[in-house]
Subunit: 264 residues, 2 copies
Amino acid sequence: MPLPDRGLDYGDGLFETMPIIDGNIPWLSYHLERLQDGLLKLGFHSEAHSPVRDYIRTALDDRRLTGVMRLTVTRGAGMRGYAPPEPARPTYIVQISCADSAGQPELPPAHVDLCSVTLARQPLLAGIKHLNRLEQVLAAKERQQKGLDEMLMTDTSGSAVSVISGNLFLLNGNQLLTPTLTDCGILGTRRRLVLDELAPTLGLDCLQVAMTAADLESADEAFYCNSLRGYQPIGRYGDRRWRRHRIALRLQELYRERLLTCAA
Amino acid sequence: MPLPDRGLDYGDGLFETMPIIDGNIPWLSYHLERLQDGLLKLGFHSEAHSPVRDYIRTALDDRRLTGVMRLTVTRGAGMRGYAPPEPARPTYIVQISCADSAGQPELPPAHVDLCSVTLARQPLLAGIKHLNRLEQVLAAKERQQKGLDEMLMTDTSGSAVSVISGNLFLLNGNQLLTPTLTDCGILGTRRRLVLDELAPTLGLDCLQVAMTAADLESADEAFYCNSLRGYQPIGRYGDRRWRRHRIALRLQELYRERLLTCAA
């Protein structure tokens, strides 16, 4: 990559990580809409989004790949200093890694614990998938050291936000609850899929609410989701154990069906 | 730069921006100590710092350059995902741009106003000069649009932290006050120089305190500092104007003398 680039200099940009299944990216429009939202929030010029779909198509190039694509869009080169160039000429980077499968791996229920790294509250950057991810790096280091599958992340005021690499859902009776993400966190594409389609299909009410770590302990079921892991039940959090994962398993089933339709 | 690199992927790294005067970097040890502190806080391995001095020396290469050096240290390549590789092999990037002068330009007193972008409070990342700088990018965009020299940045709870690219000092009587930076902000090298040397030389008490935007308005004098601008008096903040800049001008004088000694 040619330097200087504001993506490296300041994390001035956005990214998307997307499974590729047999040459297709499922729910690509969700990824592109989140990217577009991020470009607007960071004040990129209005055409920054236009070539993205073409770059993705060219990279997939009709090969029936299975794996992962990372798309990164930065504000490109600029003068020294924080102020962005006007107009900026964005840098677009498409990276593909191949894999045997993608989308919804078969994994045992996750062992999760509370992370000591708390997320700073910054409404201006909440929801979007920008390149400033040091909090997640520090959290993932802790997860690794503790040998856990995932960790629950709260913000500096004690609200539950997500796991490190995915969105959190709790089941209470017939209600599916997920944290509102107005102060921090990322609006995940598979979170949106639950809200838009999967919860209604399963006859569940899905609500975005404020919640705490204690709400996780008292939930009937709990799971998290992201584009590479699909829907993963949580089997253990601290001393709490769940043996039934009725909703997560039904979501997995529904999701696998949809993935097959995408790849067809 | 070879990709993938965690510096671009997540802003997983640190940087220093340093003036070069006639082949020398003044207060290089302050920059290197802050970098070392950052490497520790981000959990880089303990030898990550060792080659830095050699890279800088090689880049300066006995040429009597004047300009600016940016040193970037990232956590290098890694597997996909937030978790850092163990051990990581850091990437070191030295970029030099030449200039006619460096250190303490002659500028009129700055026109400053309050920035609408507030800084998130994240004690884990406070003080160090890491690569996650989107807040500063958004703030600098606002500064540019408003045609101001600098902007006062407060945090999300209303405490004054700094200007966008420098540390803030207020004079009240014989006391020099600067914000404590435990929740956000960068521990600037020229801030440290005031605390360690310049304030005592001028017979001033220098205190790190909590302060608000209102404290700036009521100050006898105000200035900010960074390594490329030295000590810059604030001439105007909102409706408040200052015509005397006794302390900032004395600091400039003292600082220019020290810069000459460095370059000798």
